[in-house]
Symmetry: C2
């Protein structure tokens, strides 16, 4: 019978194999005293199994509160645990409760992070994965070479539908590929979803009629289930191509339901991610996280960006892009969404370290605040990526292209 294997980074004051056994017991058949009916046969079929325990370093203080070590030592280890898919089938919320449930409560751990999961072959048959992904998003936007260039409407909240549409008009004229609502805006007092959709799509369709290129606008539909369904349908009816969902806030089951409707690319925004990942010994690593959301079927997923304005390291960003580049069954690969403090200067390191242009590269001020205007801002980003792909340095690219040179002058020293 197929099994799912999860890898955890653990820390414990006890012997790591003993602590791993507690995890396996708690997450399959554990209780604090022996119970009639818990037969050896049942255990064999449904019990979680500790596959391996690889000892790592020992420290003298715990990473997070838990059991106190009698000898002041806290042992870290990589632990692999497996479950039969007979336990949960293809029920993703149940899988999440198994892999990321009460085990975080176990006091034998002073650190516990889910690093990765290995999914069985039947998941590749049952789950379709992203409807669009990299290839589909390229087809929808008509972008054949280089990354999709995108931006977020700012200020995040406060603009009227007409002001938003006017910015989209400017951006579409500038040759942008993708524009999105901020995650803080779905419907505000001065920008109802319906009015914004109508105003923005009028502009998007006007440009598409004129140029043959339809920019992708990600409308933030995050909200109650019925409202999300209505808004999804409204986007489709208006000729839109994308809906944005704050996946952590909306949650797994509702996102899965929305995606099952089909027809729109889903922009998966991971706001709240820091809560799940920021501590090195607590939560979930992006490698595991992205697999779950690929099964759910998001077409685009945020990965932050090199030299970003947030706390995340460049190494972590690169690892996240690499994770999304890996195949998952024969599913489409989601498009990594690179954002946060990006202006084009990071294209060089991003390309050098990931060797891909299959990205949605998002810049805010880097476009709208470009000294020569938004069109030059978009062009500058394309130039930066062209230079990066051609193996040029930032300096050589700036010397070649005047628009990118202006970006370097304005944004090159900002952090």
């Amino acid at each position: 019978m197929e099994r799912i294997i999860a890898t955890y980074l653990i820390e414990t004051p006890y012997d790591p194999p003993a602590a791993a056994a507690v995890l396996a017991g708690e997450q399959s058949s554990g209780t604090f005293v022996a119970i009639p009916g818990e037969t050896a046969q049942l255990k064999e079929r449904f019990a979680a199994r500790v596959v391996s325990v690889e000892a790592l370093e020992t420290l003298t203080s715990p990473a997070i509160p838990g059991a106190i070590s009698p000898n002041g030592q806290y042992h870290r280890a990589l632990v692999k645990v497996s479950w039969s898919i007979e336990n949960f089938g293809f029920n993703l919320p149940l899988l999440v409760s198994t892999l990321q449930g009460n085990l975080y409560e176990i006091k034998q751990f002073t650190g516990l992070k889910l690093l990765d999961i290995v999914l069985p072959a039947s998941y590749g048959i049952h789950f379709n994965g992203p409807e669009f992904g990299v290839t589909g998003c390229r087809a929808l936007t008509g972008v054949t070479g280089g990354p999709l260039i995108g931006t977020i409407i700012k200020p995040s909240i406060g603009l009227s539908p007409e002001q938003t549409a006017s910015m989209v008009d400017t951006l579409a004229s500038a040759g942008i590929d993708f524009v999105k609502d901020d995650e803080l805006l779905s419907a505000s007092a001065n920008s109802s979803f319906e009015a914004r959709l109508a105003a923005v799509m009028q502009v998007v369709n006007k440009h598409a009629d004129k140029t043959g290129k339809k920019i992708m606008y990600a409308f933030n539909i995050s909200g109650e289930m019925d409202e999300m369904q209505r808004r999804y349908d409204a986007i489709l009816a208006a000729g839109g191509t994308c809906a944005m969902i704050s996946i952590n806030s909306v949650g797994l089951s509702a996102t899965q339901k929305i995606i099952s409707k089909g027809g729109l690319a889903i922009h998966g925004h991971r706001n709240g991610w820091g809560m799940l990942n920021r501590h090195p010994l607590l939560g979930i690593d992006f490698r595991a996280y992205q697999k779950i959301w690929r099964l759910v079927g998001v077409d685009q997923l945020h990965v932050n960006g090199i030299d970003n304005k947030f706390w995340e390291s460049d190494d972590s960003v690169v690892a996240s892009i690499e994770a999304l580049k890996q195949p998952l069954f024969d599913q489409a690969n989601p498009l990594p969404v690179v954002s946060s403090g990006q202006w084009g200067g990071q294209a060089f390191e991003t390309y050098q370290r990931t060797q891909t242009v299959d990205l949605l590269y998002m810049a805010g001020g880097g476009i709208m605040a470009h000294p020569m205007g938004p069109a030059a801002g978009v062009l500058a980003l394309q130039q930066a990526w062209q230079g990066a792909v051609d193996g040029w340095t930032l300096e050589a690219t700036a010397a070649q292209y005047p628009e990118f040179r202006k970006s370097v002058e304005k944004f090159g020293s900002s952090k």
Copy 2:
């Protein structure tokens, strides 16, 4: 215009007021360069505001990775921030993205925990809260005095529907009020949801016909949206009174949708909670968390238990029960679900510190592994609570009641 106020515990190498200003900017209109269109009027209406900053202690090492302090100092503070409800209206996922979104990514913080929220009066009109809560769950189970006594079917996973039903038969005969699926079981290879529902409800209804008392069985419906709806309907049709949802795994929007159907008490299981709460300087405190889920409408919510087998302190458990006891508008109060390593001995401290019997008190082995059998196990729990409410000590209660005395002998030294 009404505002929502959130209180955060922060840690920062910078001046706390400056870091708080970054949070407010990021969570309303922030980007890394000035943008045309961001007028003073817009800011005034939609910007988050720092209400207060209360300095706490200063430490010499950061709680979580973030900006490095130039002078080695990390300042903690309580920060209150407010948002106009014009930003998100009654859209709870959007509220969550505002209160718990990208702010966890801000590198200016080396610690950030959402402690509490103050909701505006209009939320009390818009949201109904729990359909049943304490009073409704008492009415459904016919329990008028003392806590509802409950248990979890163990082993968590592996029993057939017939074995589960047989245990329910035993437990119903023993006088129990509440039984639940484990959160690891919804449908397994040898226990389909439908077969388990049929087998269990046949037993539940048989006892109800005989005694007039219908025990509440919480069937775990956690899963995909359509399946959850079908299972909810099936429980109702079979005469059941309760559905269980792993709220973190299923997510907010789908849980809200299920609850809107009406008719069943919702048992809110918070597995995965440790990931959100276990670090003292990261995530969300139960005070804030429970308010969101009360708005969603869960009728029962887990709070762990005194002297539990997990990592959580007794103080934290007591604070969680107190949080659920507080009124929220004129909504019904959810029933706190006390569980984990409970056998009755903890009734004394639980009552002494919370002064309430409006609890669902869950014991596993404490019932099924009682030396005199499950009926004595249930009776022992009722005796423990009677003794606690009467102001007796554990010892006096054990001296008075033989069933509880046996519990003390068997479980009194276990931890």
